[in-house]
């Protein structure tokens, strides 16, 4: 079925007037949506706009406060994933629902047989999985253990789970968040194939380009409300961005300014941790300047970041901060010296999900006189600090006592920014600072990095997003297998050249990509 006649196909799914409240928060406000056979609908919205809530209601994880769901004209019982599955709805969750220690086949057949049967029909199931994998180009070994699979393969398993149950409606929640660009493209092709065979798909995303590339129709959610619904044909990125965010977004511009003195100098650094290594690495961070580090993930970026934040001690080489050689710096020393650490994984290394906002904002500084006296933490000051960050950085949360786990990714990142920028840092170490954030939050993070640059801080920006690197950096270097290319001025950089270097050209043992 093609894009043109999808408009007349029968309606397979109808959501009518869905409202869901979590306490005072209205996550979905009277949302209605229909889906036709063979149609791919993009559900677009910022983090926290209510996309995932809506789909969790559809799939029975939550029960809506108001509204109804019909599949093929039959009402769907609320709050039962089993009923949703039986009605032919399959869901690929953003955080995969796979058991890592079990095989692909185990994960797929779970729940598809009567539970009290004495023996699983594994051989028939395996043949069927192979058949489906073949038919849809979702190559994966049914006997492989899930923990041995790549992220892309795991996603295929999730899709196979739905296909195995003969799903007719497939919901994909942020499916590309974890994929490489190549994997994303191949996913879009698979989705087109599904639609041609009559499957209906809801594609949840906050990435405009993907929605335009993969979908027939787009529905935009903002603040829990459905604000627009239109065919993709004729829609532009700018329109959609404005609908999604509710205001026009101007990308921040870096004003030219002269570079200051070198604040941090690394020379001849070698370090190793597991498979990651750094070799004879030298670089200088100057005040008022953004140095961008490009590279395919897994080439030593996180080791470089951990080195500067004091988590890793170099085997050889020297680190000089403001003219003083650092012997073996500890993370606490580096923080005290004014290194603002924006870690790659905010859940694992940035914040403690089960602790409150107040506790998290002082977690790097609770031993300093600002927050402690005679070994006792001054919680009153911590709370004031948290309130100030919440206000200054526009962190959406119930208050300083809220558990950080409940915040959206963008708000978590704002919290981290508030925590590290408060001390007027001399070095800002931003490792993948916008990964997984929506348009509004990305812009905010960029503004903050440029503001730090303007104040005269040295910014080290590590990113896999070339657009981001090129729009913010004054100078760019490429990291490849632990080696750093010569630093190039932004004006002299071409994307083609950068791409070749990222693939290893011009490096000592270079030549091919070291993609993780």
């Amino acid at each position: 079925m093609s894009r043109e006649n999808a408009g007349e196909a029968e309606i397979v799914l109808r959501l009518a007037g869905i409202t869901k409240r979590f306490g005072p928060l209205v996550a979905n406000d009277n949302v209605s949506l229909t889906l036709r056979r063979g149609e791919i609908v993009g559900l677009l919205g910022e983090n926290g706009a209510g996309k995932t809530t809506l789909m969790n209601i559809l799939f029975g994880h939550y029960v809506a406060d108001e509204g109804s769901i019909e599949v093929d004209g039959t009402p769907l019982p609320a709050g039962s994933p089993g009923a949703a599955l039986a009605a032919g709805i399959g869901m690929v969750h953003q955080h995969f629902t796979l058991a890592d220690n079990l095989t692909v086949l185990d994960n797929i057949i779970l729940g598809t047989e009567p539970l009290l049967r004495l023996s699983s029909r594994r051989n028939a199931a395996k043949a069927r999985v192979r058949e489906l994998a073949e038919a849809f180009g979702l190559a994966v070994d049914p006997d492989a253990t899930v923990s041995a699979l790549s992220v892309g393969e795991r996603q295929r398993v999730e899709i196979l789970k739905a296909l195995y149950r003969e799903a007719r409606v497939l919901i994909l929640d942020e499916p590309t968040a974890v994929l490489t660009p190549q994997e994303s493209t191949s996913l879009f092709e698979t989705l087109k194939k599904f639609a041609d065979r009559g499957l209906s798909i809801i594609f949840i995303s906050h990435k405009l380009g993907e929605v335009l590339a993969a979908c027939h129709r787009v529905a935009v959610l903002r603040g829990g409300k459905l604000v627009a619904e239109r065919p993709v044909a004729g829609a532009t990125r700018a329109d959609l961005a404005e609908l999604m965010v509710g205001r026009t977004i101007a990308p921040p511009k870096a004003e030219p300014q002269p570079a200051g003195p070198a604040i941090l100098e690394l020379s001849g650094i070698a370090a190793r941790r597991g498979a990651q290594k750094l070799e004879s690495l030298s670089l200088a961070l100057h005040g008022g300047e953004v140095l961008g580090i490009a590279g395919v993930s897994g080439n030593g970026q996180s080791l470089l970041a951990d080195l500067i934040s004091g988590l890793v001690t170099p085997a050889t080489g020297t680190m000089t901060l403001k003219g003083k050689v650092l012997a073996s710096p500890s993370p606490r020393q580096m923080v005290a010296q004014g290194v603002a650490r924006i870690p790659e994984d905010r859940h694992a290394e940035g914040l403690v999900g089960d602790m409150s906002v107040s506790e998290n904002v002082v977690s790097e500084a609770y031993l300093t006189p600002a927050f402690s006296h005679h070994g006792f933490i001054d919680w009153k000051k911590a709370r004031e600090f948290a309130l100030k960050i919440i206000k200054d950085y526009d962190v959406k949360c119930p208050g300083p006592e809220a558990r950080v786990r409940l915040l959206s990714g963008g708000n978590m990142q704002k919290l981290i920014l508030g925590r590290v920028m408060a001390n007027d840092p001399v070095i800002v170490l931003a490792n993948q600072p916008t990964r997984g954030l929506d348009v509004g939050a990305v812009t905010y993070v960029h503004e903050q990095l440029l503001a730090a640059r303007k104040r005269g801080a040295a910014v080290l920006l590590i990113s896999e997003d070339l657009d981001e690197l090129l729009s913010l950096s004054d100078k760019v270097a490429v990291i490849y297998r632990g080696q750093l290319s010569p630093v190039i001025r932004r004006a002299d950089v071409t994307i083609a050249d950068l791409g070749l270097r990222m693939a290893g050209q011009g490096f000592e043992h270079g030549g091919e990509s070291h993609a993780a």
Partner: protein, 313 residues
């Protein structure tokens, strides 16, 4: 006879298997609970309840097999209590489990005292007798060690096969394994996490109850205080030792049984020269060493002790 010669006596191996039998049942029970993501520290008390209720049923005139059934039912009742507290209510599994152990043991002793207010020597029953497997029991050494045991011991070995089959071959077993790894995967496939966990804990606790009843219905013929004597805690360690696999857990139980049988004989051998407590300690020390070696590679069920709340991020 010296310390090495003992190793080649059939009686040592027979004793090792006898000692291992209750451990096999209870370890399998704990293994099922933990595979479903629930730590059941009620095991020590549930074994006591099994020992007592099985014995009481037989003492009151029931058959030995009815006693085993009673032990299983009583065990699963306390399993249900544990499961209700830790699964739907999400209470701490450690605290609840220890509470169950205290409750179940104390209740057993209390009821015992109610039924027998004034006894000087423990009342006795007629326990299971060894059943010699035809032909096989005549094999030298091996026959005596393996095939002249009581029916409950044979049942213990059968239980290993049954539990393996259940976990790895049936749809329900797959659900149990998955629920202990990633409950949201179970939820996403339309199966109720809460029910799977409750059922697994009840089934596991029934096995613990049977393990306890081995003590009163096969190993001894009466019920007395503190008769479980830490066997439940050993089983917790054996589950880790066995990396949550029934076959390896059986091996662990047999190994412990062997250590224990061996130390009993060493005590007699070295009687007087070395304090007997040193030998009593041996199986535990060896178990700890074996545990340290084995558990370095142990792959815990990912969701062990993590309460599941539907729809929570």
């Amino acid at each position: 006879m010296d310390a090495v010669e003992i190793l080649f006596t059939a009686s040592l191996w027979a004793a090792a298997i006898r000692i291992a039998s209750p451990l096999i049942f209870a370890t399998l029970g704990e293994l099922i609970c933990e595979r479903a993501g629930v730590l059941n520290l009620g095991i020590e008390g549930i074994m006591t309840v099994g020992a007592f209720s099985g014995w009481l049923t037989v003492y009151m005139g029931g058959s030995l097999w009815l006693g085993i059934l009673a032990a299983a039912v009583a065990g699963s009742a306390f399993g249900l209590l544990h499961a209700l507290l830790v699964v739907p209510l999400g209470l701490s599994q450690h605290v609840t489990g220890i509470g169950i152990t205290l409750l179940a043991s104390s209740l057993s002793y209390y009821v015992y005292r109610l039924v027998f207010p004034e006894v000087t020597s423990p009342p006795k029953i007629e326990p299971f007798q060894p059943w010699n497997v035809p032909v096989l029991s005549d094999i030298p050494v091996i026959g005596e060690a393996l095939f002249r045991q009581t029916p409950l011991t044979y049942l213990a070995f059968a239980a290993v096969l049954l539990v393996s089959w259940f976990l790895y071959r049936t749809p329900m077993g797959l659900a149990v394994r998955t629920v202990g790894e990633n409950p949201s995967a179970v939820e996403a496939q339309g199966i109720d996490v809460t029910w799977v966990r409750i059922a697994a804990v009840m089934a596991g606790s029934a096995l613990m109850g049977i393990g306890g009843s081995f003590l009163t219905l096969s190993a001894f013929n009466s019920f007395f205080f503190d008769m479980v004597n830490g066997r439940g805690w050993i089983c917790i360690a054996l589950v880790v030792f066995g990396s949550w696999r029934p076959g390896k857990a059986l091996l662990g139980a047999l190994l412990f049984g062997l250590f224990d049988a061996y130390q009993l004989r060493l005590q007699q051998l070295a009687g007087g020269y070395v304090p007997y407590q040193v030998f009593l300690m041996l199986p535990f020390v060896l178990s700890i060493i074996a545990l340290i070696v084995m558990s370095r590679r142990a792959a815990y069920p990912r969701a062990l002790m993590v309460p599941y709340r539907k729809g929570e991020r």
